[in-house]
Amino acid sequence: MKDFLEIKEIFYGDFPEIFSLNPRFRPGSKKVKVVLDVQAPEVQKGNTDISSIFMKLIKLLPSLERHQCGEHLIEDLKSGKKGPPSEHLEKITDIAHIMEHIIIDLQSNITGMNSCSGITCGYKDPYYRFDVFVECKDKKVGVFSAFFAADLLKRLLTNKSLSRRYYALIYLAKYFYGNKSLQRQTQLDPLASQISSEFGWKKSFVLSLLKKLKDFGFLNLEHSLAT
């Protein structure tokens, strides 16, 4: 079955062609571009109450509450005014838009970026496709943030609750970002042991997190996972 929220492609680069679409884009800044399909029929079966999803999100990413929106999306979500989107297009646009917020928030949280700008562009055809551009300080963090945001939204859109794993993944990503030598570590088992010991987390839990970080493009543990 086709995924209802699917990252089709990820690009990394300058994208001068979209520079003028956000006056806050810094000249020459690198960006991550996420091509995203939000398939409405599948979404309709899940939880599309964006307000309830937002309330779960701010537990994980409290700074989302500080966001202000010309479209009043964030204000409406905070005040509970935003009900289930009445229109199909608005529904999938909200989802893509929230994904942009998550990517911005994650990158700011992990890398400590002083500023970060982005745009969400909805296609004319197909109407369910979006290009999400977000300024990116670190390519790996940008890719990780996109994967993480999609994984998180898929979970919340299917009425699942936030698990401890998401908190721990952000914590670990931040930890690895500040420890470049650890990022180059390719031996899964010793790395898991080290982190387990340092944080007092169960090794099996750490192993699952490290595998997720690999899946999300943050760590290169392919060799050790294959052995």
Partner: protein, 69 residues
């Protein structure tokens, strides 16, 4: 130059994630495409709507919608 990561099948994902992580630069077809260059006003014609936002540590994130022709 932009790096491209495709997600059509698991093997391709694996290969391209490795390539992405290795920081090898690739030509981005978006920039190579004949009808897509910064001076071409039709470049963004594929979009129906654009939402933009910015974050600054000293400010809140702002959003606005840019109307496309």
């Amino acid at each position: 130059m932009n790096d491209k990561l495709s997600f059509k099948n698991p093997d391709e994902v694996k290969t391209k994630i490795e390539k992405l992580i290795s920081f090898q630069e690739e030509e981005d077809p978006l920039l190579k495409a004949k009808d897509e260059n910064p001076d071409n006003p039709g470049l963004l014609s594929k979009y129906a709507r654009v939402l933009c936002c910015s974050f600054d540590k000293n400010e809140a994130i702002e959003h606005q919608t840019i109307k496309l022709p």
